[in-house]
């Protein structure tokens, strides 16, 4: 029973998401959630020991973000977003 968690902002949405994760879940950062790459880089590198983390390409590029800290994250386009949705039993959005 894996869950895809989408996070569209740092702060409360990201924090609540962290509390709700089970091993094997997937996290997708989108919209302002992609700022976690810088703001929450430590949190993400910890998180990556237990779950897979993805970012939405369009939102990363739009905001001039990069994988500055070489985190082991995946970049997905909209097609990849759909595939992640299909691969998980349910989706929870944190906003």
């Amino acid at each position: 029973m894996a869950t895809l968690h989408t996070v569209n902002k740092t702060g409360q949405p990201l924090e609540l998401c962290l509390r709700a994760l089970n091993a094997g879940d997937n996290v997708l950062l989108l919209e302002e959630g992609v700022y976690a790459l810088y703001e929450a880089s430590d949190v993400l590198s910890d998180l990556l020991k237990h779950v897979a983390v993805y970012v939405l390409e369009a939102d990363v590029l739009a905001r001039g973000m990069t994988n500055r800290d070489n985190l082991d994250i995946g970049m997905v386009d909209y097609q990849g977003f759909v595939e992640l949705t299909e691969a998980n039993d349910k989706v929870v959005s944190w906003f």
Partner: protein, 119 residues
């Protein structure tokens, strides 16, 4: 066995219509016999702060709607304990209709449900 639904409500009570819509969704779902849980997290825990009087805002009193959940077969509201602590809320300040989820309990609680909706 009917699918279980968890409704997560994370926004403060009078911030837009989020809290109201989460409650409406819970009432509808329960009316249709879907086993429904309502989970308050983050600023959502302010929704069950006792003594809300939103009359001057011209808004519905959400705490009154919470009191009706039992009539819909929703016996308790689940609350993330960490969110209470972060906000310095004492249990006595809240409407006495909730069950605390402490520590890892939130994650396993969500995993027990088939579907999740967040507001």
């Amino acid at each position: 066995m009917s699918q279980t639904l968890c409704i997560i409500s994370t926004q403060a009570p009078y911030r837009g219509q989020f809290a109201k819509e989460a409650l409406d969704a819970a009432l509808v779902s329960a009316t249709y016999d879907i086993p429904t849980s309502l989970l308050l997290m983050g600023d959502g825990v302010y929704q069950i702060l006792d003594g809300q009087s939103p009359e001057q805002l011209g808004r519905k009193n959400l705490s009154s709607m919470f009191q009706s959940l039992e009539l819909y077969g929703i016996e308790t509201v689940y609350v993330d304990g960490e969110s209470l602590e972060e906000r310095n809320l004492d249990p006595e300040q809240l409407l006495p209709l909730y069950t605390l989820l402490e520590g890892d309990a939130v994650a396993s609680f969500l995993a027990q449900h088939d579907k999740v909706l967040s507001f």
